[in-house]
């Protein structure tokens, strides 16, 4: 069955769509959501390609969960349309959208055993017994929970419960999997493992389209093909994960995704054929990857904390000087905070000189032009 023919959640139809084959794209067409007069999601136009993981990240109240709930059908858009594949689902009830959903607190049905939880969607859709048995087995095996089928949710750890919740969502062979802060309730160690497991899962189900809502940038960076960064009900940037990280288009993206340092500079010389522009910060002349700035433009030089070094070498040719304010040792990493002409600059270092300077002393910092990018000063979306 083609995506264009999709009209509802019939098990047979969804089976034909096959997670391993062609997933469905999700298209937001100027979708806005308002509660009364309060707009929580401004007109959003966004496309999630079939088989893609799109992470929506942003602070609390940024509208990311609202966008996900609009796709799920739990929030009715005030305007705009939502399409899954070729089907306009805007007016369809949630149970006719053919989705799988995993939420923060797992929401496993406590009165059902693991196998019954996983079978729930299939039974609700009237699938026959043989198909249910096969799908439950497959889904539990996919998440490594086959031996826990007869347990009740209360007999499982948080991580195991989340795996079952994922299996439950996968068992109906959804066209799109919605993950709403799925790892937020887990402790740090389990969360790291689960991120790896979800990545592994997506590698084994490459056709599965996933909308992943999180406030954790590490989860987004690890899992997502693309990231949409939300702020105040709007997407303030959207693009391939690596691109967004390396070349953030605005201040908010740079700071939210990886807590970049943003040094105010004045462009001295526009980018040449190699793409590097020259800019000045006080007396320092710096080189950074440009994006069409002209000489004289006020700009921000984006430098990641881990790209700053206390020692120079052939690559780290840019040099600025700051006053050391704070040192935070965290085992494998040491975080330094310096003041560079009134701008706080963070450094994350795995290796430091044996004798660390005392706070208050002037410290030179070095970084490579290739590890920087310029972004317009007024693009503080």
């Amino acid at each position: 069955m083609s995506a264009a023919a999709f009209t509802g959640p019939s098990v047979v139809d969804i089976d034909a769509a096959k997670v391993r084959g062609a997933g469905s794209n999700v298209h937001f067409d100027k979708v806005s959501v308002a509660y009364g007069t309060h707009v929580v999601l401004h007109p959003l136009t966004l496309d999630i390609a079939p088989g893609e993981i799109l992470a929506m990240i942003g602070p609390s109240g940024s509208g990311k969960t609202t966008a996900l709930r609009a796709v799920a059908g739990f929030v009715r858009p005030a305007s705009g349309r939502i399409r899954i594949g070729a089907t306009d689902v805007t007016d369809l009830p949630p149970y006719e959208r053919g989705l799988g959903m995993v939420v923060q607190n797992y929401a496993l049905f406590p009165h059902m055993r693991v196998e019954d939880n996983v079978a729930f969607g299939l039974r609700a859709q009237g699938a026959d017994k043989a198909l249910i048995g096969e799908r439950v087995k497959d889904a539990l095996a996919t998440v490594g929970m086959a031996t826990f089928a007869r347990r009740y949710p209360r007999e499982l750890s948080g991580g195991q419960q989340q795996r079952v919740a994922i299996a439950r969502a996968l068992a109906v062979r959804p066209r799109v999997l919605l993950l709403d802060e799925p790892l937020s309730a887990l402790d740090a160690q389990i969360r790291r493992n689960m991120v790896e497991e979800i990545a592994r899962l997506h590698r084994s189900l490459p056709g599965l389209t996933i909308l992943y809502v999180t406030h954790d940038q590490t989860e987004a960076l690890t899992l997502a093909d693309k990231i949409a960064i939300m702020r105040d009900g709007r997407v303030c940037s959207h693009g391939p994960t690596a691109e967004l990280y390396r070349r953030p288009p605005n201040r908010f993206t740079a700071e939210f995704l990886g807590r970049a340092n943003l040094l105010p500079v004045t462009v001295a010389e526009a980018a040449g054929s190699k793409g590097f522009a020259t800019a000045t910060h006080g007396d320092a002349v710096l080189t950074g990857a440009g994006r069409g700035e002209k000489a004289g433009d006020k700009s921000l030089l984006c430098i990641r904390p881990q790209h700053l070094s206390l020692t120079a070498d052939n690559e780290h040719t840019n040099r600025i000087v700051g006053t050391l304010r704070e040192v935070h040792w965290q085992g494998e990493l040491t975080h330094l905070v310096l003041d560079v002409d009134g701008t706080p600059v963070r450094v994350s270092a795995t290796k430091l000189p044996v004798a660390l300077p005392e706070p208050g002393t002037k410290v030179p910092l070095f970084f490579a032009p290739a590890d920087t990018s310029l972004l317009p000063e007024d693009a503080g979306v």
Binding site: A72, P93, Y95, G98, A107, F120, A124, Y152, L178
Partner: protein
């Protein structure tokens, strides 16, 4: 622990024992002893006998037990269905309407039960609603008096129920009726059973409205107890009270066991 010192804890226990003993145990103990008393002229009964139980069993006790159990079951079941329905429906309304209708539901519980009985008697004594002298009017009286409690219990359960359960069920393809039957109601089961238990206990002990509306041949336990004690047959009244307590306790314990089995608690 709020009190650390040994002597402090001892004092707290003594106060608790006094309050519990005087307010709860003493009246029940007196009724129990009365039901077993041969004669009672001093501080304690002169002798013990089970004759009063025999007397009430030979009399109308069994019919009274049956009337109370049937009334309790029927009224509680009706109250449970309507209370749960109202609570589930009100959840979909706006907060203002929710508050208003919720308040209306509680009004009968704030009115004296005798007034409820009188109201029903007046309302249902003329055609086309001529229910006076029927068992139905007893059921209705009990239903009116206990429905607020079922509504309150189920509403409290719904308020504690995370919307995630129902939303996830919907996203998996469960239509509203399937979701209600397989997710919402099982998750509410402890509250439903508690609501039923409370309603049943209240119905078993209801006297004020029942005494106004009961027809001949449908004399409930509290009405029988009232009649016996009114005639001065205190010991038989006490025996019947103990039967009422036992019947209620057995049913409530049974309900608790069923809930535990059903919810796997």
């Amino acid at each position: 622990m709020l009190v650390w010192s040994r002597s402090g804890r001892l004092v707290i226990w003594v106060i608790f024992a006094l309050i519990f003993g005087v307010l709860f145990l003493a009246p029940l103990a007196v009724i129990l002893l009365s039901s077993l008393a041969d004669q009672w002229n001093g501080v304690l009964p002169n002798g013990l006998t089970i004759e009063h139980y025999g007397d009430v069993a030979r009399g109308a006790a069994w019919n009274a037990v049956k009337a109370s159990l049937v009334t309790g079951f029927a009224a509680s079941a009706l109250a449970l269905v309507s209370g749960a329905w109202a609570a589930l429906s009100l959840r979909l309304q706006g907060p203002a309407l929710q508050r208003l209708l919720g308040l209306l539901f509680f009004i009968p519980s704030a009115v004296p039960s005798v007034s409820v009985g009188l109201g029903l008697l007046v309302a249902f004594s003329h055609p086309p609603l001529l229910l006076n002298g029927t068992i139905a009017i007893v059921m209705i009286a009990h239903f009116v008096l206990i429905s607020a409690f079922t509504f309150g219990n189920v509403s409290a359960g719904l308020a504690r129920l995370s919307p995630d359960f129902e939303q996830v069920a919907s996203s998996l393809g469960a239509r509203p009726a399937y979701r209600l039957w397989h997710v919402t109601l099982p998750l509410l089961a402890p509250y439903l059973v508690a609501a039923f238990g409370l309603s049943f206990a209240l119905s078993m002990g209801e006297l004020g409205a029942t005494v106004m509306v009961y027809p001949p041949g449908w004399v409930t336990l509290p009405v029988s107890i009232f009649s016996l004690t009114d005639r001065g047959d205190i010991f038989a009244g006490a025996a019947l009270t103990m039967i009422l307590v036992a019947a209620t306790l057995v049913l409530l314990l049974g309900l608790e066991r069923i809930t535990k089995r059903a919810t796997g608690a």
